[in-house]
């Protein structure tokens, strides 16, 4: 663990990313305590510019809603969507990838053709279609994002499992009479953990972006304040009130960047042999 942290901290970008990410997490946790009112509450006159009133540091949107409250509550939604949809896509992707890599042959063929079917459709377009069919709400959005993001997990895992499949410790496990399930679960999966963790951190970032894009297009959950929604609603007044779209945009940029930096840092820390020199 000490080694891990040491290697991680050598990547300065990753440390900065981690700090930003922690900040966003803290913000999302304390949001309901500092902004006790609903972020939809119309609390002041519309179009108050940022940094002019202490009570409304980031100003108000076209309907007099507190932008800072919207950002704080939006952080919860964005993180929630990012984490849960990544978790769901791991749950779909890992068994498919593991089975394909472990059994090979026709199982592999079948599962990989199935995976390619999903990969051949542009993921965002598919997400838009899915959300439109299932009516936009937070569950359908999470499921749609998961459905379009699991193929890379399956492919990554298949490769990892295939290379581990022929290792001696796996063969030893086979000889000792363990069932396939036990071998995959006990022997192989633990060894694929590090690339999955790295991939997952990137996927969270991608999921946040997809959710924001959906909300921007008006396909978000109408009852949930998310960053993408604020940008989408603010877009129409960008010439009168730049701040409405700017701050949530900045929040998305920083969060996604932070997640990517952390992902890179994890990569360095978890695969020391692959770590790039000279940092």
């Amino acid at each position: 663990m000490k080694d891990f942290w040491k290697r991680f901290s050598q990547n300065r970008g990753a440390v900065i990313g981690l700090c930003v990410l922690l900040l966003v997490v803290i913000l999302s946790i304390v949001a309901p305590f500092i902004y006790t009112k609903s972020p939809w509450a119309m609390v002041q006159r519309p179009f108050i510019p940022p940094f002019t009133m202490d009570a409304f540091l980031l100003g108000t949107d076209p309907m007099g809603r507190d932008l800072a409250a919207g950002l704080a509550h939006g952080a919860r939604v964005s993180l929630l969507v990012g984490l849960v949809s990544t978790l769901v896509s791991l749950i779909i992707g890992i068994p498919i990838g593991a089975a394909a890599g472990y059994f090979g042959g026709w199982v592999d063929d079948l599962l990989m053709r199935f995976t390619e079917f999903f990969q051949s459709v542009p993921s965002f377009a598919l997400a838009v279609v899915l959300v439109a069919i299932f009516q936009p709400n937070i569950t359908s959005i999470i499921v749609s994002i998961a459905v379009v993001s699991w193929p890379p997990v399956a492919r990554l895992l298949r490769g990892e499992v295939m290379s581990l499949r022929s290792r001696e410790f796996v063969e030893a496990a086979v000889l000792s009479g363990q069932t396939h399930l036990t071998i995959i679960w006990r022997q192989i999966l633990p060894n694929t953990l590090s690339p999955i963790i790295v991939l997952a951190s990137m996927m969270v970032a991608a999921a946040i972006l997809i959710e924001s894009s959906l909300s921007f297009l008006g396909l978000g959950d109408r009852n949930v304040m998310s960053w993408g929604y604020i940008i989408g609603a603010g877009r129409t007044v960008i010439r009168q009130a730049w701040w409405v779209s700017f701050f949530p945009g900045l929040a998305i940029l920083l969060t996604v960047l932070a997640l990517n930096l952390v992902g890179e840092g994890l990569n360095d820390a978890l695969n020391p042999r692959l770590a790039r020199k000279g940092r």
Binding site: W40, P46, M63, G218, A233
Partner: protein, 515 residues
């Protein structure tokens, strides 16, 4: 300061008086949005078709902003004392755009034949009519089955355009080639239609009013993208932006441009009124106290000022204040969340969340749904907004599959034409999103509305409608929101742009450009 104001006001009044001498010449660029399928308004009657076609075809009457009839193709008219016989005398020297003279035969053909086949709205009006006859070339007489005072307001270009008999008689109306090159009697003649680009009308030099129209040419530009429409006005490519053709959020910016004027007039005939359908069949909306609580919870002033840029008016009840027989009767409902809470407590409302179906007509309506959700939430009614598209909205409301739903409807000049359809028991029928969708049923009110429609003269109708308004405002079958205002934004050089209750479609004959 005040004196200065008066002085400057007086000066500007005299200044306009001096300048208000119409000068002929010039062309005008307007927006038509969206591009209509046709401008033959005997067949196609959506707003963009009317905007253009209203210059080509005319009807017997026009209406001023109080919906008082004014001469159009009829130069004079008399109504018999019993209210059963309407006699119209046509203008002299009216010619169709192909040179043939207009006679009473054209009117008979349009009223008895063409429009009966092509327009359901006209058929509805004609259910009150016994017969139409033409004693001579210049006179048309309508005999009614029963007094129907609203009839005098049903003769607009929108309900009863007069069409050329010599072109349409004996042909298939819907496919007659003249539909693509319309021949009317109006102040402007059809010249050219470049699909996807513009519709071009030119002055009718033989128009029966000498000296009119003043303008030489009208271009109705087709610009499909909302942002581009705003920019086209900003750059001066467009002189007139008809109400409703740019997004609400662009309006303050355009209105504040230099040398730009705006007017809310010209919507008196349609009188669009918005409200929330409250599904009276389902609890808790079946409880009148709950519905009253909804009215108290809504902050409609906020919606008007913030979402509609201050245009329009908070509705007091089922009639738009622009409609004849409107009266500001009690009870009315000001924004009062405390009262709403008290009412909810009284009925022991359980706080079960309700679903709100917004109108899928763009940003303004979406924001409005959010504001209503917030208003109701503050009063203790939790609401979830549902996502929908136009087809979904139509289907859900016409099949009564909703709790609370947004809508707005035209009131078309008279409560007997455009209002009672939303409240009478006989109008409860699935499959139509414009009738009694809320499912309100009250025999007393049915009788009131039925009597008011055929009462005569107008004073008698007024009495009955006063009672109907009071009854409805007590029962709150739907939650009335705003009389919507759709401002027309235009370059200040254009004068007399809106001179009738239907606005731009009819007023181009009076418009002129200040040099």
């Amino acid at each position: 300061m005040r004196r200065l104001l008066f002085a400057s006001l007086a000066f500007s009044l005299t200044a306009t008086a001096v300048l208000a001498q119409a000068v002929p010449g010039g062309k005008l660029n307007l927006i038509v949005q969206p591009e209509p399928p046709s401008v033959m308004i005997g067949i196609t009657t959506n707003a963009p078709a009317l905007l253009v076609g209203g210059n080509i075809y005319e009807s017997l009457l026009r209406y001023d902003e109080n919906l008082k009839p004014m001469p159009s193709l009829a130069k004079s008219w008399t109504i018999s004392d019993d209210g059963l016989s309407y006699t119209f005398v046509l203008q002299d020297g009216v010619k169709w755009h192909d040179g043939k003279p207009l006679t009473s035969a054209d009117v008979l053909f349009s009223v008895n034949d063409f429009l009966m086949k092509m327009q359901p709205r006209h058929r509805n009006l004609m259910t009150h009519v016994e017969s139409v006859s033409a004693p001579d070339d210049k006179t048309v007489v309508f005999k009614l089955k029963e007094p129907f005072e609203a009839f005098i307001r049903g003769l607009s270009f929108y309900t009863m355009p007069i069409l050329p008999k010599h072109i349409y008689e004996g042909t298939e109306y819907a496919t007659n080639p003249a539909n693509d090159k319309p021949i009317g009697t109006g102040p402007f003649k059809f010249d050219e239609w470049k699909r996807g680009s513009y519709i071009h009308l030119v002055k009718n030099p033989d128009y029966y009013l000498k000296g009119k129209p003043y303008l030489d040419e009208l271009y109705y530009q087709v610009i499909p993208d909302g942002a581009s429409r705003s920019v086209a006005f900003e750059t001066g490519k467009i002189d007139v932006v008809p109400g409703g053709s740019v997004e609400n959020f662009d309006i303050p910016r355009l209105r504040d441009l230099p040398n730009t004027c705006s007017t809310e007039k010209g919507w008196e005939y349609f009188a669009p009124l918005s409200w929330l359908w409250l599904n009276n069949r389902k609890p808790p909306m079946d409880n009148v106290k709950f519905r009253q609580a909804v009215m108290y919870a809504l902050d409609r002033e906020f919606a008007k000022d913030v979402l509609w840029n201050g245009y329009g008016k908070v509705a007091t009840g089922p009639l738009s204040s622009k409609l004849p027989f409107y009266k500001n009767v009690a009870p009315t409902y000001a924004h009062d969340p405390a009262k709403a809470k008290a009412l909810l407590k009284e009925i022991g409302y359980d706080g079960k969340p309700l679903k709100l179906l917004p109108l899928p007509y763009g940003e303004t309506w979406q924001r409005w749904a959010e504001a209503v959700k917030q208003n109701l939430g503050d009063a203790g009614i939790p609401v979830e907004i549902e996502a929908t598209d136009v087809a979904g909205w139509n289907q859900r409301t016409s099949n009564w599959d909703y709790d609370i739903a947004f809508t707005y409807l035209y009131q078309n000049g008279d409560p007997a034409i455009g209002v009672d359809r939303n409240y009478k028991t006989s109008q409860i029928a699935k499959g139509n999103p414009f009738n009694n969708v809320e499912g309100y049923s009250n025999p007393t009110l049915d009788t009131l509305f039925d009597q008011a429609a055929v009462a005569y003269p107008a004073a008698k109708r007024q009495e009955l409608y006063d009672q109907a308004q009071k009854k409805l405002q007590e029962d709150v079958p739907v939650a009335w929101l705003l009389e919507l205002g759709f401002p027309t934004i235009y370059n200040c050089k254009v004068q007399d742009l809106v001179t009738t209750a239907s606005g731009l479609p009819e007023s181009m004959r009076d418009a002129w450009i200040k040099k």
